[in-house]
Amino acid sequence: MSVRVLPAGDAALLIELDSLDAAVALTQRVRAAELPAVIDLVPAARTLLVQTAGGTDLAAIGRAVLELAADLPTQAPEATASDALVIEVSYDGPDLAAVAEAAGLDRSGVVRAHTETLWRAAFIGFAPGFAYLTGGNPRLRVPRRAESRTTVPAGSVALAGEFSAVYPRASPGGWQLIGTTDQVLWDTDADPPALLQPGRWVRFVDVTDGSPS
């Protein structure tokens, strides 16, 4: 496991790791350690951004984070079914046919592939509460749409690259839309407002015909 500490201005450090799983694990450790002056953590695909209040000894923070990064697990922990947030999906999205064609599957094959594995929220980006879910069937790796939509409704279930996601709020978007869910993923009165936090497991369940199949 290699860990690099990179400067990110006078109040932050960017910690670079080998893998997403390492970034998620380090985020949990740094959060639990409650380092003084650390005000925000931004985990991403291969990195963890550690933001401080400023006027802090960044070298000391870097050393503390490196210590926490010792013997990080290189693989995601085993998930158990009870850890997973169940998201019920009607697979009726406008891009389902295009995804099926790109994946070399029929529609029910796409639904099966999307529901048969557990997904994991890797990091949040693009928009408030927008979680990038990883761990899906590699056949579902499809490119983004050639043209973005100006509005994608909240609750749209989507694919792009190695990721799946549920649009937490209406926004523009270029991902392939395969279904919809009523699950509320974003609530400004909740703490935290995003239901899917990095590391959270997700299982999609098919309710296209009204009831879980």
């Binding site: 400067p7 990110a8 201005g9 960017l14 005000i39 925000d40 291969r46 980006g125 693009f126």
Partner: protein, 290 residues
Amino acid sequence: MTGLEIIRPGPLSLIEDLGRPGLASSGVGRSGAADRGSFLQANRVLGNPDNAAAIECTLGGLNVRALSDLDLVITGAPAPAKVDRVPIDHGVPFPLTTGQELRLGVPKTGLRSYLAVRGGLDVPAVLGSRSTDTLSGLGPAPLAAGDQLAIGRWTEQSVADPLPTNKPPASGPLTLRVALGPRDDWFVRPTDLLDGEWLVSPNSNRVGIRLDRPEPAADQPALGRRDDTELPSEGVVLGSIQVPPSGQPVLFLADHPVTGGYPVLAVVRGADVDRAAQARPGQRLRFALE
């Protein structure tokens, strides 16, 4: 009611406070006043809590009417201001009595003026802040003619010392101090950033300042990347100078995205980001190592 009515918002007037720190792992950026120093100055001179919401007015043009007797102050870009044709001193509190109108002209230097009210603007908070985040759409809508804004109750408190008076924004070339990294090693010659002047593009906003070269001349190199590897998205901080494949850098301001997919060559020193937020389209910038 106690309050303030917007008669004309000018090109862009927004409600801002100190933003939403600590929510990045939910994908929420900090947002808040773009020039925090000028914003804090306004609250300090009025004896408000530091986080009291105020109006951030871009390039003047704001007219307001008092719905009750108010005390206000204007800081940041020195927009010429008048109450009943009487000029108001910049940075000094002044009364606006019920029915009186305040008019802000266009500032000669700087971009963003702060109009604060004793008691602060009392609009509903979203995730603990009254700031408009123009990127995510969180917070109040941009101010529009006819909006009536309630004012919070002011209680005398132990007032922190006013900040040292902000220098008015300069009109000439600005020099901003930077530290290289985190991704300077992605560029052929990272110090090309420090070489020559950059121009603030008209296509700049609260998300970021787009930077052009004044003339695409040979002595002002573009920022060439070592290769065209894609960077997995990573967290970015306020003041980051991100370089997309076009080579046209973006200097991130208050409403910057939480993560970015292009390498960040350098980060502007925290203390200099406020000055960057006052840079007008067409103004020249230079970057220097600390």
